[in-house]
């Protein structure tokens, strides 16, 4: 009898725990809203919000910023004793820092089983999308037959000064991306390749969005950018394609739940909805390379991309790589 009582108490505890995996939909409706701070594009969040509200009658208050800004806001609020966010969509290293400080709690969801083991991080859970960086070109200016067929093809003299990339001395994702090149081509070849890229005097943009804009407008019709733009702008009639190489690098994006959510039920309901087939399809539809099994972004051969996560760099690692690239790209 005592064992049954303990089991019941445990079940009750699990059921009442704010981070339980099975949310109380009625409770979420009563809470009325969920506050999310994240780096996912607002246009995509608008689509999610529409369906989420339609299904559950719960509003989403979304604060968008770069991962750095999102983390900055969350930590500043936390240090002032105000944890206003419920869920954050963020980078792994930043989530780990927040986990260490007790700002985010343990993430759980019944949807986890639909994600492959290799996208799971032991501390922060699964990456829900990979922001893949590839060689993108504008078909109005470059015929597919004339486009490069491999990374190395960009080192041909005809592309000298004719392609664009984010400045690796300024843009942290690009710093990480270049530093992770050995993962796909080995260290020696990667070192030679990076020096070769720098010697080609590429047009350097402040970040990947302006780089992709230059490709889109034809100002610089080829360069390194996120593959998702092919689907996003393709829907509007832009003729963009990417160079199909065997392996591509990208940045994994994760999510975290507040250790003290203001709206615990709504937060859990959102996490489950977001990671569900329905939620992930919304992301895939706008070109995001989501990681849920069987859901692929809406551009050609996306299911064949062999994606590899970029290596994390700590502060000293960033400084060292940034200096290294400054010496070769900006000399």
């Amino acid at each position: 009898m005592t064992k049954i009582r303990i089991a019941c108490a445990l079940l009750l505890f699990v059921f009442l725990s704010p981070n339980r995996a099975y949310p109380d939909v009625a409770g979420a409706k009563k809470e009325g809203r969920v506050t999310i701070y994240g780096s996912l594009e607002t246009s995509t969040m608008n689509l999610l919000e529409k369906l989420f509200k339609q299904k559950y009658g719960v509003d989403i208050d979304y604060w968008w910023g770069s991962s750095t800004k999102v983390t900055d806001r969350i930590t500043t609020e936390f240090r002032a004793g105000k944890q206003l966010f419920d869920v954050t969509l963020n980078h792994r290293p930043l989530l780990k820092i927040m986990k260490k400080e007790g700002i985010v709690g343990k993430l759980n969801s019944p949807a986890f089983k639909f994600f492959p083991a290799e996208v799971f991080d032991s501390e922060v859970g699964p990456a829900y999308r990979n922001v893949v960086i590839g060689i993108i070109y504008n078909e109005s200016h470059i015929k597919p037959a004339d486009a490069p067929k491999s990374y190395e093809d960009l080192l041909a003299p005809k592309w000298k000064g004719k392609f664009v990339m984010a400045d690796p001395t300024r843009h942290t994702t690009t710093t990480q991306w270049l530093a992770s090149m050995p993962k796909i081509m080995g260290k020696e070849k990667a070192d030679r390749y990076i020096k070769g890229l720098a010697a080609q005097r590429p047009v350097l943009a402040d970040s990947i969005t302006p780089a992709s804009q230059k490709i889109l407008t034809g100002e610089v019709p080829i360069g390194f950018a996120f593959t998702k733009y092919i689907a996003i702008y393709g829907k509007e009639g832009a003729k963009l394609d990417y160079v199909k190489v065997e392996k591509m690098l990208g940045d994994g994006q994760y999510m975290g739940i507040s250790s003290k959510p203001q709206h615990p039920n709504a937060a859990q309901l959102f996490i489950d909805f977001f990671l569900s087939d329905e939620g992930m399809k919304i992301l895939a539809d706008v070109g995001e390379t989501v990681t849920r099994k069987g859901v692929y972004p809406a551009y050609k051969d996306a299911d064949k991309i062999k994606f590899m996560d970029v290596d994390e760099l700590d502060e000293a690692g960033f400084a060292a790589k940034s200096k290294e690239y400054k010496d070769i790209f900006l000399k």
Binding site: D61, T68, F78, K82, T172, D206, T209, T217, E219, L330
Partner: protein, 565 residues
């Protein structure tokens, strides 16, 4: 009651104490947090100690001095060019008989409502060396693509266009409020129109010109919008770009370093405030609004009047028409692309239709309008009070008020936002995560703009008028209400318009302080830009400008006829 006590219970001293306390609070409270942050080894809320390490890091880096030099060249160039544009425009539209001057005058105010981010983007679309529209046209006509926006000259040019409308409003207000008797005396003494303009008119409006130049110098020095679009790709390092990249845009964020750069800019700006106060110390020299009735006469340019209109129109084409048309074009494109037949065939109104379907856009417009109307009203009334105390009274320590108002002005918006965030996040009145923190931030940051607009008019009001009022037995309140306030009205209206148009599109503080549910237009436009949704961004931008034009037109309509003639 002793004499000193009696002095402090006089209405003017009570006003001074109230204004001083309010100003000291809104100005010093966040500044204290920023300064404190600059001398700490860790962010606020985290264990740390007092340390000079941030200052050592910033000022032992030789690159810092290069950045300061670049910033000074950029700010001086942009400010100087903006004043030249504004002076030419203001003189032609206010003082001459050039045809269409009413229309030109209205057009000159429009760029003040164009978000500067959008102006910079428009000019990149027009003048980028590869496929800029102007270069493309020139290439097809003359076989040359001569322009390259990515350089210091391009940066100065675009920023000066962004800054010109503010200078125009200040200088035009001063020109309108001038006493013609001095000019008439010069003409009676045999001086020609040019001689009058050079020897009488321009010296008389010198405080307004200096005010505009000082304002624009500091505005350019702390500007990030245009540098973000032009200086970063051109690899030109300015103080703000370096600060943004290394302190705020870096990983991990270093607020303490940001605060240290901010304190450096405060020192720089204080030098300019001191210089400005020296220039305008002898206010009597500039007093031109006397008790006599006046109406500045219009200069007959005879045959030259068409050339004057053409000159003003050329400036306006650069300031307004070209960037605006580019923006409209981008707002009609499904996605941002080079101008071609295919692009023209694909034009769509989709982004405008979306404006009326998206709750988020509606909510941003509502929030920004509230902030613009309420915030600008509170701010300009406060500015008028401070301006009166600093310029028109002999209250001890009146200079302190102006110095206090200028402190937050010296901080780049993002750095000030950090100070405000630290200051108000745990404030007993819970304004954090509401629209009210944005209002406090806007008033704190933009008060000097209101102050300059009102001061440039108030220095021209001769003290005879107040003395006459006092002689007739009127008290402080009656003199303010019956004499000074009506005479200050052109400056107050100009200041209100400047502030309202700033507030409706404010970006740099808002991006850091807004909360979900209290989102204004500035961050919304920026998100679209960051996401590469240029069409949506341009659509919201054009609609923001339209709303601002209606706001300005309504204000001018309401105040028309009440302004001093």
């Amino acid at each position: 009651m002793t004499a000193p006590v009696r002095r402090f219970v006089q209405p003017v001293y009570l006003l001074y104490i109230c204004a001083g306390l309010c100003l000291a609070f809104i100005s010093l409270y966040p500044t204290f947090f920023l300064f404190y942050g600059s001398v700490r080894s860790a962010p606020l809320g985290v264990a740390g100690h007092l340390s000079a390490s941030n200052y050592i890091r910033v000022y032992s880096d030789p690159e810092t001095y290069k950045l300061v030099a670049n910033t000074l060249i950029f700010a001086a160039g942009a400010s100087g060019l903006s004043v030249i544009f504004a002076l030419a425009l203001a003189w032609i539209t206010v003082r001459t008989n050039a045809p269409f001057r009413g229309l030109l005058e209205l057009t000159a105010v429009i760029p003040n409502i164009m978000p500067s981010l959008l102006v910079a983007i428009s000019w990149v679309l027009l003048l980028n060396p590869t496929n800029g529209i102007v270069n493309q046209l020139s290439l097809s006509l003359f076989g040359l693509a001569p322009f390259n926006i990515y350089g210091i000259p391009g940066l100065i040019f675009v920023e000066s266009l962004v800054l010109s409308p503010l200078a125009y409003l200040i200088i035009a207000a001063a020109l309108r409020g001038m006493d013609p008797s001095l000019e008439e005396s010069a003409k009676t003494s045999g001086s020609n129109e040019l001689g009058v303009a050079l020897r009488i008119t321009f010296p008389l409006i010198r405080p307004a010109v200096l005010a505009a130049a000082t304002l624009n110098f500091v505005r350019a020095a702390e500007s990030f919008d245009t540098p973000a679009i032009i200086a970063l790709p051109a690899r030109i390092e300015l103080f703000t770009t370096k600060m943004f990249r290394e302190a705020i845009g870096s990983f991990p964020t270093n607020h303490n370093l940001a605060a240290t750069y901010g304190v450096g800019l405060v020192a720089l700006v204080f030098v300019f405030v001191y210089l400005y106060r020296r220039f305008t110390a002898e206010v009597e020299r500039f007093a031109t609004v006397t008790g006599k009735g006046f109406r500045p006469h219009q200069i007959d340019l005879r045959g030259w009047k068409y050339l004057a209109s053409l000159t003003a129109l050329s400036i306006l084409v650069l300031m307004v028409i070209l960037p605006f048309l580019t923006l409209v074009l981008v707002s009609l494109m499904p996605f941002y692309q080079t101008l071609s037949r295919a692009a023209l065939e694909a034009l769509t109104l989709r982004h405008y239709v979306n404006l009326f379907q998206d709750d988020r856009i509606y909510s941003a417009f509502r929030n920004s309008l509230f902030l613009a109307i309420t915030g600008a009203t509170v701010c300009i009334l406060f500015a008028a009070m401070i301006s009166y105390l600093t310029v028109k009274t002999k209250v001890i320590g009146r200079g302190l008020l102006e110095a206090l108002a200028f402190i937050p002005w010296a901080f780049p918006g993002t750095a000030l936002a950090i100070g405000i965030l630290w200051a108000y996040i745990n404030f007993p009145i819970p304004i954090y995560a509401t629209l009210w923190i944005l209002m406090v931030a806007y008033i704190t940051r933009y008060l000097p703009y209101g102050l300059r607009a009102v001061s440039s008019v108030i220095v021209q009001i001769h003290k005879d008028l107040e003395e006459a009022s006092a002689t007739c037995g009127a008290g402080l309140w009656t003199t303010l209400r019956r004499i000074l306030f009506p005479l200050m009205r052109p400056g107050i209206v100009a200041g209100w318009i400047i502030l309202a148009t700033f507030f409706i599109r404010e970006f740099s503080c808002s991006i850091f302080l807004y909360s979900p549910g209290a989102e204004p237009l500035g961050p919304l436009i920026y998100f679209y830009y960051e996401e590469g949704s240029f069409g949506a961004m341009a659509g919201v931008g054009v609609m923001t400008m339209l709303v601002s034009v209606l706001l300005v037109a309504a204000t001018r309509g309401l105040t028309k006829g009440r302004a001093i003639a």
